[in-house]
């Protein structure tokens, strides 16, 4: 009897712990645009104008600045919540870590500027705190949310602009560029392999195709080893079967199958893989 009671108590405690401890955190919205307003505070035109400003800034400077408005961060503090957000969103470029998040919890009346590692030297805690207390909070107090956010974003951009950072990526480097040419290479070798095999016979056709694929792969990737592997694979497949060799050969130089031509247009905003360490400042109004 006593044992049963004890077990019951344990079960109760455990269930209470589970229900309150796990899964009770505020959800993190998905990152699709620079400005994410869950509360619906900003008008569409205002949101679009902010979006445009931040997009232009990213194109010019490379830094990713993002704005997030949520109703509340409860039960966490805004610091804990915003760190979870940036760990998921990964704003800023990889290894440059130049992301900034301006997060506003409307019902909590708290806000925070979360600064990536790479910008901690420019956008220091003190500077962030000043931006919050001098540009944003006075406007928020009057209920002018758009004005506050716009002024805050403007100040952040001015500070970041003064920081010498690597120039923005023209997304023309490495595998991304290679991925662009992959379909072309693929079709080319498919056709060429087939034609050459018919014209020259199985073995010479395969050799010529393999050589051509290796050459093109070398020109595109610049790595001799990759070129050799691509060529050998193309040769083997042309020798054994149909134009399949081209597919395999092309795959090797692409590195990541299923990713070719991935982010064309870039309508969806994504974090670049930047890191955060809790720098920045919080405030309330």
């Amino acid at each position: 009897m006593n044992l049963l009671k004890l077990a019951g108590t344990w079960l109760f405690v455990l269930s209470a712990f589970l229900s309150s401890g796990a899964g009770a955190q505020a959800p993190i919205p998905a990152l699709t645009t620079h400005v994410t307003d869950v509360t619906g505070t900003l008008a569409d035109a205002q949101r679009a104008s902010l979006e445009q400003t931040l997009q232009a800034f990213e194109a010019k400077k490379g830094s990713q600045i993002s704005v997030l408005m949520v109703p509340t961060t409860a039960p966490e503090t805004i610091e804990q919540y915003s760190l979870r957000v940036v760990e998921q969103w990964k704003l800023g470029r990889k290894n440059i870590d130049d992301g900034v998040l301006l997060i506003i919890a409307k019902e909590d009346r708290t806000l925070r500027i979360e600064v990536g590692y790479g910008l901690e030297g420019a956008l220091t805690d003190a500077t962030s705190s000043r931006i919050i207390n001098e540009s944003i909070v006075p406007r928020f107090k009057q209920g002018d949310y758009y004005g506050g956010v716009a002024a805050g974003v403007d100040s952040i951009m001015r500070v970041v602009d003064g920081e010498p950072l690597p120039p923005p990526d023209q997304r023309a480097s490495g595998p991304a560029q290679l991925a662009h040419y992959l379909p072309v290479l693929f079709v080319l070798t498919l056709v060429a392999g087939g034609v050459l095999r018919v014209l020259l016979g199985r073995l010479p056709g395969a050799v010529v195709t393999g050589g051509a694929v290796a050459l093109v792969a070398w020109m595109l990737s610049g790595a001799l080893f990759i070129a050799a592997v691509a060529g050998v694979i193309a040769l083997a497949f042309t020798l054994l079967g149909s134009g399949l060799g081209a597919v395999a050969g092309a795959r090797v130089i692409g590195g990541q199958p299923g990713r070719f031509g991935g982010d064309s247009g870039r309508t969806i905003f994504r974090g670049g893989g930047g890191g955060f360490g809790g720098g920045g400042a919080s405030g309330r109004w």
């Binding site: 610091e79 805690d125 003190a126 962030s128 705190s129 000043r130 360490g277």
Partner: protein, 206 residues
């Protein structure tokens, strides 16, 4: 013969990596890196203290005891060497922890006291320092969290089968983790004081 040797080597390599040796190495390095970040942020806080004390002293010199408390705590923090070897010595780790906790509590006392001085609170220099201190405290919290996770991973590897055998052969031990610093405060039920007759003992919680 050579082929046999090569095969044997391959088997050894696979056995070593299969029994968690590489995982232990990787996680051990991760723990060290995260620990460095913790120490780095604590150092940053310690560097802020002299400036902060000087600024407060300019406006609130009568708060001698609080100021001296902070200075002493700062000195004690400086005397504990935070080397990576500290991680393999639970006692030294505890000393480090207690010194940092002391500085935390005396700093928060200082900030509470400074609330009573409007001039100090509106001083731009003090506000900047306060922002820096808050930012650093937050960084410390983040760094500690990451360290806790890294140690958790490492300790799990070191204690679970079969990597625990590898760990014991190569002498890898569990590493100490942070405990909740204000355990006593959390355990105490919150007291609400309305300045009336003291409420009966709070035994509401079962």
């Amino acid at each position: 013969m050579r082929i046999l040797c090569l095969g044997l080597l391959a088997v050894i390599v696979m056995a070593v990596s299969g029994c968690g040796y590489n995982a232990i190495q990787r996680q051990d390095e991760q723990v060290k890196a995260d620990w460095s970040e913790v120490v780095n942020q604590y150092q940053r806080r310690a560097d802020l203290v002299p400036n902060l004390v000087n600024t407060v002293k300019g406006f609130a010199s009568q708060e001698r005891s609080v100021l001296i408390g902070v200075t002493e705590a700062r000195a004690r923090v400086g005397s504990v060497q935070a080397t990576p070897e500290l991680l393999n010595d639970p006692q030294a780790f505890a000393r480090f922890e207690s010194a940092q906790a002391q500085l935390s509590s005396s700093l928060s006392k200082l900030l509470v006291v400074s609330e009573a001085y409007p001039q100090l609170k509106s001083d731009a220099n003090f506000r900047d320092l306060q922002a820096q201190l808050e930012g650093t405290e937050n960084r410390i919290a983040v760094a500690r969290n990451r360290y806790i996770k890294a140690v958790q991973d490492y300790n799990t590897t070191v204690r679970s089968f079969p990597s625990n055998l590898t760990a014991s052969v190569f002498g890898y031990k569990e590493k100490p983790n942070f405990s909740v610093t204000n355990e006593a405060e959390i355990a105490r039920p919150p007291q609400v004081d309305f300045n009336t007759a003291p409420a009966p003992a709070s035994g509401a919680a079962n």
